[in-house]
Symmetry: C2
Subunit: 206 residues, 2 copies
């Protein structure tokens, strides 16, 4: 399979979301035009994105929803449940623990860590906050693919280093820093203040 | 001034963050190498990014921190406070109300709305949750540049339409949909599940 770009992967996620809605509604087929309308793309773009993975759909008939759902889930690696640990039990961390969008997609937050003695042992949306000192020992017993880093900026790189040494291969980073990781580890960064700054830039430069 | 790309704007935000830390520490100058190291870029990239805005810094001396901070704040439109409203008082919305990273940057969340009668009138981190029915009337009295949309997917487009009609020019969207807005309105989307899906894609296709 060809290497596909990050922006294609993001559109595939979005198509999958709509297709699952159609599936819930019992619709058998969907056209590239309809997927395009929902996904903010053109129908040519939809056909191009899906053509990466071989031919789906018949001319004039549209795509079969269940087939396309299962193929997209396979492509995106969503046919299994991922164990996810979260480091940082602040307000955002606490909210993410039970973010439904994660669980629905098979991302199961199974542990949350903090270093603050006031937080350790408390419950955060059903999970008991663990001492971050336990991180390595826990990861040895409970191998984990994905970690979410929601620490303050100054703690994030150290936490990332520890996660990587413990075998975590994918990080979702909410701290406002660029994490440095080895080549075989994937990092995505969500920087909410930076998104607002991109908006203020556009407001200031209209 | 030339139109600069979204990814350049993001790097400028990041440089500003480090420069502000240096300023707090009382450091007078910084080299492009140091900014590059912190920002995960090359020093050539840093010099190129900053050259968009005229010449800063002297060869061999580095950049003067206070001058560069104030210039970057100006470029990013951060020399004022932005009034921000937030629609959706769920867990994530509630956490965002007092996200320190926003306030520190001059983004002041001044109102939070929901349509759920059980939430309306309750306090969410110090703000009383208002009825979303009041949105238009409130925005008329309190003009607002930026709105954060944290509603369920199916409500997001309608909320966005109402915000746009009421004069909001910039939206930060956390709902898992592509919002359609007029050309003169800027939207940034933060899709946390989609970020995890980009990670599962890379785990599944290593």
């Amino acid at each position: 399979m060809r290497k596909i770009s990050d922006s294609t992967v993001r559109r595939l996620s979005l198509y999958l979301r709509f297709l699952e809605q159609f599936q819930t509604q019992g619709r058998p087929t969907v056209s590239s035009e309809e997927l395009a309308r929902r996904g903010g793309a053109t129908s040519a773009q939809v056909r191009k994105d899906l053509s990466f993975f071989g031919s789906f759909g018949k001319r004039g008939m549209g795509y079969e929803v269940p087939e396309l759902v299962s193929r997209l889930r396979e492509i995106l690696g969503l046919q299994r449940v991922y164990r996810v640990v979260l480091v940082g039990a602040g307000k955002i961390g606490g909210a993410l623990v039970h973010y439904e969008g994660f669980r629905r997609r098979g991302f199961e937050v199974s542990a949350i860590y903090d270093r603050d003695p006031k937080k350790i042992g408390s419950r955060s949306n059903g999970l008991v906050v663990r001492d971050v000192k336990q991180l390595e020992a826990d990861l040895k017993k409970e191998p984990t693919d994905i970690a979410i880093v929601v620490t303050p900026a100054e703690a994030a790189q150290d936490v990332a280093d520890r996660l990587v040494r413990a075998g975590v291969k994918a990080l979702l980073n909410f701290a406002p820093v660029q994490l440095k990781v080895p080549r075989d580890v994937e990092v995505k960064t969500v920087n909410m203040a930076q998104e607002l700054e991109a908006l203020s830039y556009s407001l200031a430069n209209r």
